[in-house]
């Protein structure tokens, strides 16, 4: 069955497994120096610590019991701000996003300190969106107030599933009341743009569980929801061995869960955006999708049009006009480099012209579910009429893909399989040995 094939989620192209150590600190330094002074920047900050690990966790993080590593990390992040700020003439930041781990584990004081330090190296006065990922179990009014003082105007809460037996299986007990309370605290402090993350395919999760969770989540009226399928990759994330693979829904049931979540959310007034996001009618994501201005990055679907994404912290990925860079995965490795006054770049990839062309095609397919190959070729000054082999291969997707001349459209029935269609344009896939999670 189509759904069994393993393909990437295409939050980047080429995908992260293809990054190589040939892009190092020296390359990052050169690329930063080449950024024009008026480049618009998006900043991503990674905080690789949590109070405890959830069993399903696929993120780059680790559990800590004391403040000390977190405080040390805060100082090293501020060092990295200074190092990067000194290496580039670009200053203007339009977006900030804190991810992790649990970024709020830094606590109000360290968060305010870091926001202040960031403002010393970059110009944050034009920031339009300042988002942070939060764990609803640890949202207090003190934290909410600090977030507002920092300029945060969007918060992303991990909900996953609200059924007690599923929460027990994933090691994350957070009853609906806790979530509702966190939402109330945030709204009271003035943060009104809220995103919820839901998951399907979790251990012991039924279709009924998924519908119930989606409906309850929607009742709190977040601005957006993102719905992710659990990726069982215990060979990459040993912590996931706590989840027995026979407790997981099969591929067909995953598909049904997703479809039912989608139905529940659209029934509650949300518009689908891309493959796995849902937004209120008046949310800018909905407008961007309608105007084919939607983009895709490591956070998923976004309206971010910045010239460069700078990543700070362990494992953070940046995207500059020249290509991708990624910091050392672990906090210790990151700290060693930053501690020596060097960039923590451990791998990356210089984008070739072909990478950019194919990347744009894949992005449009993932965002608009359609792509006009002529328009792409035009945009990149490419010889017209290419991709004959790919178009030929798409004939195998009867019913899911329509081809009209040079325009490829994914039909509504084909949308859950958009990744597979995009994969046809991935020049790295047949050669790459990277294993990815199930296609739905």
């Amino acid at each position: 069955m189509l759904a069994e094939r393993s393909v990437p989620r295409y939050t980047s192209y080429p995908t992260a497994p293809h990054f190589s150590p040939s892009i190092d600190a020296a390359a990052y330094g050169r690329w930063l120096a080449e950024l024009p002074a008026d480049a618009s920047l998006s900043i991503y900050l990674h905080v690789p610590y949590c109070v405890a690990l959830c069993n399903y966790c696929g993120c780059q993080t680790k559990a800590v019991r004391s403040r000390e590593p977190v405080e040390a990390y805060a100082d090293l992040l501020s060092e990295e701000f200074r190092l990067v700020g000194a290496a580039t003439g670009a200053r203007t930041v339009h977006r900030i996003h804190w991810g992790g781990g649990t970024p709020s584990i830094l606590g109000p004081r360290a968060l305010l300190f870091l926001a202040d330090e960031l403002s010393r190296s970059f110009d944050l006065t034009g920031v339009r969106e300042h988002a942070i990922e939060l764990d609803p179990r640890y949202v207090t009014s003190e934290l909410a107030d600090a977030l507002v003082r920092m300029g945060v105007n969007r918060a992303s809460l991990g909900i996953q599933d609200l059924s007690p037996h599923v929460q027990e299986a994933i090691g994350r007990i957070q009853p609906f009341d806790v979530v509702a309370d966190a939402v109330a605290q945030l709204r009271k402090a003035g943060i009104t743009r809220l995103n919820f993350d839901l998951m399907y395919g979790l251990p012991r999760q039924s279709v009924g569980d998924a519908i119930r969770s989606a409906t309850l989540a929607a009742s709190l009226e977040p601005a957006r929801l993102a719905v992710f399928g659990y990726a069982h990759v215990p060979w990459l994330k040993p912590h996931q061995r706590l989840i027995a693979s026979d407790s997981l829904p099969g591929a067909a049931e995953r598909l049904t869960q997703f479809e039912q979540i989608r139905r529940a959310l659209t029934g509650a007034g949300y518009r689908p955006v891309g493959l796995d996001h849902f937004a209120l009618v008046d949310d800018e994501l909905t407008a961007a999708a309608a105007a084919t201005r939607l983009r895709r990055n490591f956070q998923g679907y976004t309206t971010d049009q910045s010239d460069a994404l700078l990543g700070f912290g362990a494992s953070a990925i940046g995207l500059l006009p020249q290509g991708y860079v990624q910091n050392a995965h672990d906090a210790a490795g990151y700290g060693r480099k930053i501690g020596m006054g060097q960039f923590a770049t451990s791998r990356g990839l210089r984008l070739s012209h072909e990478d950019r062309v194919r990347g744009r095609i894949i992005e449009r397919l993932m965002c608009d579910f359609a792509v006009d190959l002529d328009a792409i070729e035009d945009e990149f000054d490419q010889e017209p009429g290419g991709f004959a082999a790919e178009i030929g291969a798409l004939a195998g997707f009867a019913g899911f893909v329509e081809i009209n001349g040079r325009r490829v459209t994914i039909t509504p029935q084909g949308r859950p399989f958009a990744r597979l269609v995009a994969a046809e344009f991935d020049a790295y896939l047949p050669k790459g040995r990277a294993r990815h999670s199930c296609a739905v």
Binding site: S78, R82, A86, R120, G339, M340
Partner: protein, 229 residues
């Protein structure tokens, strides 16, 4: 081509009393400066290595230098930091006991030891100046010893910040710290995690604040002095 950096010859350009170096207007500067040469070193470039013959004396003209030894377990112990105006590479014997590297892109004035010996023989003021420099180095090594004898990281870092403020701080209490966190850790015998964490705690306590690249503002000197008591 042997000529001195004009900056060293200009009285106005001389730094304030340097930690390790000769006082402004001392005979040492003016007799010896024309006999040395200024050499640029890139960041992390080696100036001399442990066990190499000690043929030269050095002075930091611009930038910063660290001297260090690698211990048998792979750790690095930094012996001292040298800032503009500081003389380094002084040895009792004929080999360097530590290695020296540029911390950032630096310019180092270099003079042959044999030349210094010759001048010191005929000029007793220069000889006395060299004796004072050696005594000063000894004092600083003693202070470093006392610092390392302290158990608390906060105390070591407070002592370090006050030392740096004395050497290169300005009137407002802003100090230039040209070295990375790892260098500070290896000078103070602490882990980088401890150094970083202590900096964060001192910022939270408003004892210090971190300015642009490499500048620290000492906001509460009294608190630092108490830690250094």
């Amino acid at each position: 081509m042997l000529h001195a950096d004009p900056v060293l010859l200009r009285r106005e350009a001389e730094p304030t009393q340097s930690f390790y170096g000769p006082a402004p207007g001392s005979g040492l500067r003016f007799s010896l400066v024309p006999m040395g040469a200024c050499i640029p070193f890139a960041r992390n470039a080696e100036i001399y290595a442990e066990d190499e013959p000690a043929e030269y004396l050095y002075m930091v003209a611009k930038g910063a230098v660290r001297s260090y030894k690698l211990l048998s377990d792979g750790r690095r112990q930094i012996e001292a930091f040298y800032l503009p105006g500081d003389l380094f590479g002084i040895e009792a014997g004929d080999k360097h006991r530590f290695s020296a590297e540029a911390i950032s892109g630096s310019t180092v004035w270099v003079v042959k030891r044999s030349v210094v010996d010759r001048v010191a023989q005929r000029d007793s003021a220069v000889a006395r100046e060299l004796w004072m420099l050696a005594a000063q180095h000894l004092e600083r090594a003693q202070d470093h010893l006392l610092l390392l004898a302290r158990h608390k990281a906060h105390e070591r870092i407070a002592a370090f910040l006050l030392e740096m403020a004395k050497r290169s701080g300005d009137a407002e209490g802003e100090v230039e710290l040209p070295m990375a966190r790892q260098d500070i850790a290896d000078y103070l015998g602490l882990t980088i995690e401890t150094v970083s964490r202590t900096f964060t705690e001192m910022v939270h306590a408003a004892t210090i604040s971190l300015r642009s690249t490499r500048r620290v503002l000492l906001r509460d000197r009294a608190a630092l002095a108490r830690l250094n008591a």
